[in-house]
């Protein structure tokens, strides 16, 4: 299993019946592929749809039905379309049960930086700041390290996405939460030891007595 699949599979375990969920681009999008059988979840696309379905068959794409990246999607029976004011009223108003986003850095308090590398990458924040501020549950999907450096840091050097503390970070090495106001190691990836996670992590990690391995 590659790192992306591992992260996506683990996050899919956080989905619950009837949830309204927004998946960011990249690894988060993959989470939909691992929806547990029988579970009914609503996916929101912030450009104005609830009930986003899979990529249409060849020749079936509808140019007025796309994801937030402008790529064709399908719509499930019972889908609904709306304007951008409504879309962000849903996000900001606490109606979104979960959002899964990529991350550049998460600090040891649980604050996320994921929208810009000043002077280098200036894509704009898009919906990320509203998603992190407004969703009931925020899960960050990212590689534990980039270019040999930990992305779970003592203090974010990159501009923050929100002052709001994220709920869970899932990486190729670990599952971490911030329920006690600081980073806590909840699970390790299969075959990865607690010591390996600690070594690979710049942030100070709280290590409970029992740290199970992810069950995938």
């Amino acid at each position: 299993m590659d790192a992306q699949e591992l992260i996506a599979r683990r996050i899919a375990q956080e989905l619950r019946e009837g949830m309204l969920v927004n998946l960011g681009i990249g690894i988060p999008t993959l989470v939909a592929n691992y929806l547990p059988a029988g579970l009914h979840v609503y996916f929101q696309s912030e450009n104005g749809l609830i009930g986003t379905g899979s990529v249409p068959d060849p020749g079936m794409a509808q140019p007025r039905l796309t994801d937030a990246g402008g790529k064709p999607v399908s719509a499930l029976p019972g889908a609904c379309a709306f304007d951008s004011a409504m879309s962000f009223a849903l996000i900001r108003g606490g109606h979104l049960d979960m959002t899964v986003l990529g991350g550049l850095q998460v600090d040891q308090q649980g604050r996320l930086a994921n929208w810009t590398i000043p002077g280098k990458m200036v894509p704009g924040m898009g919906g990320a700041m509203d998603l992190v501020t407004g969703a009931r549950r925020v899960i960050v999907a990212m590689q534990h390290n980039a270019k040999g450096k930990s992305k779970i840091v003592r203090e974010c050097s990159l501009p923050l996405t929100s002052a709001r503390i994220v709920d869970l970070v899932v990486t190729d090495l670990a599952v971490i939460d911030f329920a006690n106001g600081r980073a806590r190691l909840l699970e390790t990836a299969p075959g990865v030891s607690v010591a390996e996670v600690v070594t690979a992590t710049e942030a100070e990690l709280e290590i409970p007595a029992d740290v199970p391995e992810m069950q995938l």
Binding site: S45, E46, N47, G48, L49, Q62, P63, R64, L65, T66, A68, G69, G70, A75, A81, F82, D83, S84, A85, S87, F88, I91, R92, G119, M121, V122, P123, G124, M125, G126, G127, A128, M129, D130, T133, G134, P159, L160, T161, S162, A163, R164
Partner: protein, 215 residues
């Protein structure tokens, strides 16, 4: 509401005008109006829109043509030309969180002096903005946005300018249609009055100044 040719509609827009443009990654953007703006060589425009799409699509064509001197948007990440012009100092770019941008436009169209949003608190977005506490929580005061023109892309228009949008092509269109001095619409199909049910009209025709006649 009056009908107008594409060329005449675009001729109403002077160099230096501010435009709100519907669409999300060019989906729902009135492509014929964009093409004609480029053809007529309009310059120095201020564009307010969700994003700058991609080269060759929607607002991306205006960026490539260097028709835009100022952009207020939430996302430019899928158009490398926008980022290049911005980093080179050729394009002034204000990046706004998407939910804030759409509320600012809505406020402009709804006669509100602003809205208070929690989005951006504790980030660089709060620079220069008033913070207001309500019920013990801090919010940013975000002020209204309006433009000289709104360029709207609809799926259906009836003869009175009542509009219906399709699926995710709705996005910013009904909101920008309320926030500009002059509203110009390109509809994919024009249908007789009464074909769109009153319950399915998403933009009332009274908001539309010009509907582009098909040739």
């Amino acid at each position: 509401m009056q009908t107008i040719s594409l060329a005449d509609a675009v001729a109403l827009i002077p160099d230096g005008a501010s435009l709100m443009i519907g669409g999300f990654m060019a989906v729902g953007t009135p492509e014929p109006i964009i093409n004609e703006l480029v053809r007529q060589g309009r310059k120095n425009l201020t564009v307010i829109a969700n994003d700058s799409a991609a080269p060759g699509r929607g607002i991306g064509k205006l960026i490539t043509a260097r028709a835009v001197s100022r952009l207020i948007a939430s996302h430019i990440g899928l158009n490398p030309e926008t980022q290049q012009q911005m980093l080179a100092g050729e394009l002034e770019c204000e990046l706004v969180p998407q939910g804030t941008l759409i509320e600012r436009i809505r406020a402009g169209g709804a006669g509100l002096g602003g809205v208070l949003t929690p989005t951006g608190i504790g980030t660089s977005v709060e620079e220069g903005k008033r913070k207001i506490e309500v019920n013990g929580r801090e919010y940013l005061l975000e002020t209204p946005l309006r433009a000289d023109f709104a360029l709207v892309g609809a799926f259906l228009s009836d003869y009175l300018g009542n509009l219906q949008y399709a699926l995710t092509a709705r996005n910013y269109n009904p909101i920008v249609a309320m926030a500009a001095d002059t509203v110009i619409v390109n509809a994919e199909s024009i249908v007789p009055t009464g074909v769109i049910s009153p319950d399915h009209v998403m933009t009332p025709g009274v908001l539309v100044d010009y509907l582009i006649a098909h040739e």
